[in-house]
């Protein structure tokens, strides 16, 4: 996957400044929050000190990955209807997670998903399976997130050299590790809460601004997007509002679309960082 080219967005010094400000602010919050004396168990569970609302906000933060903000927007911008599936599927997955996973997991008094799963079963194989699944999912998930985060940071900082971009990605990764090591569960829960507020707030503001440009006329906005997409200078000449533009080529790709829809609806219930919050 090629990293971004050297288009410059804004002044890199301002971008670095804002980025550093966010890092300092959130790291500060993490340190303050974990300063309270706590038991070893609190590092892993947050000490049951979070209210239902706060925990809900943290779940939102975990559930809304960078994909929801960046990837889906991009997919819809390029492929229109087929990109819509990503956000719809992920959203409907919430029903599956809520009814089939969250309620039964609630109040079991156990710390981890592996604890809950092996509660009444043969400990060793179940724990091994849980650990393997967590590691595999985390690895794959992190690859995508880090590449996206690093690419974005490289773009904002105006870094063009391939090696420098890799360095930026590595630094972002180290920063994330630092958050977790310093904060433990409590710290990361606060980070997720802040993230949820920022994501939803930021996306709402942008959506409002875009809609404002068309006088809150969604239909008009879609028509304009359509024209831009069909214009070969901007888009890839595909019709945005018609399904199967990306996946309609053959029976195989259609099945691929169906398979994607199943993965999107069943997958999020198994994500370890979402499961651990229940």
């Amino acid at each position: 996957m090629t990293l971004l080219e050297t288009t410059q967005y804004g002044n890199p010094m301002i971008n670095i400044g804002v980025f550093a400000l966010f890092v300092v602010a959130t790291m500060g919050i993490v340190i303050v929050v974990t300063r309270q004396k706590s038991k070893a168990t609190d590092f892993y569970t947050g000490g049951a000190a979070f209210s239902g609302r706060q925990n809900g906000l943290a779940i939102t933060g975990d559930y809304l990955s960078a994909a929801a903000f960046l990837g889906v927007t991009g997919a819809i911008a390029l492929y229109g209807y087929d990109g819509l599936l990503y956000s719809v599927g992920f959203f409907v997955a919430w029903i599956v997670a809520l009814f089939l996973v969250a309620e039964p997991l609630r109040n079991t008094g156990k710390y981890t998903m592996a604890d809950v799963l092996s509660f009444r079963m043969n400990q060793k194989p179940v724990r091994t399976a849980a650990a393997t699944s967590t590691l595999v999912i985390s690895f794959v998930y992190l690859l995508a997130q880090m590449a996206g985060a690093g690419g974005l940071v490289a773009l904002l900082l105006g870094v063009s050299d391939r090696n420098m971009q890799s360095l930026v990605i590595a630094l972002v990764g180290l920063l994330m590790v630092a958050y977790v090591l310093i904060g433990g569960m409590k710290g990361t829960t606060w980070v997720q809460m802040i993230k949820a507020v920022l994501l939803v707030g930021g996306a709402s503001v942008m959506a409002l601004l875009v809609l404002l440009g068309d006088g809150f006329n969604l239909s008009e906005l879609m028509a304009q997007a359509q024209t831009a997409a069909l214009d070969p200078a901007y888009g890839n000449g595909k019709d945005l509002l018609v399904p199967m533009q990306q996946y309609g080529a053959s029976e195989f790709t259609k099945l691929s679309f169906l398979s994607l829809s199943i993965a999107l609806v069943a997958g999020p219930s198994g994500l370890p960082h979402v499961l651990m919050r229940f």
Partner: protein
């Protein structure tokens, strides 16, 4: 207000995770409670409760709600997906201005999820929480006895 304060009562380093060690490994007496941390209900009491009618009722109430709701939600979603794949022209017909039927149905899925969550919260508060709260109180009272 935090559970740590309540338990340690001015002895901030009391750490219940060391109590499972043999007594000569416990932290210095002046730094610790002399009482052990509060016991949780035993496995036996859990097993006993799991056989009561109340508990089984609670579980079936939940299941009779959750499964149909999940199935309905998924049926709605997969109708959207399958129509998008096989009824392309139908889904492409404009409904409101340039919003196609397909896009509207897709956006309706969001409404379904919101509605389902709202219904669930109402249901849980009214039917599930009182019963599970009573069972929990019963279990904890049994421990203190």
């Amino acid at each position: 207000m935090s559970p740590d304060r309540d338990e340690s009562q001015g002895k901030p380093w009391a750490d219940e995770t060391e109590f499972h060690l043999p007594e000569d490994h416990w932290p210095l007496p002046e730094l610790v409670h002399t009482e052990k941390p509060h016991e949780a209900p035993t496995t036996d009491s859990f097993v006993a409760v799991s056989k009561t009618a109340e508990y089984l009722n609670l579980r079936s109430t939940f299941r009779n709600f959750a499964f149909p709701m999940t199935v309905a939600g998924l049926v709605s979603y997969f109708t959207f997906v399958l129509l998008s794949i096989y009824a392309v022209d139908f889904m492409a017909t404009p409904l409101v201005g340039s919003l196609s039927v397909g896009m509207t149905i897709g956006l309706l899925q969001f409404a379904v999820v919101y509605a389902w969550t709202f219904i669930y919260v109402k249901f849980a508060t009214k039917k599930l929480d009182p019963v599970s709260g009573a069972l929990k109180a019963q279990l904890e009272k049994g421990v203190q006895a």
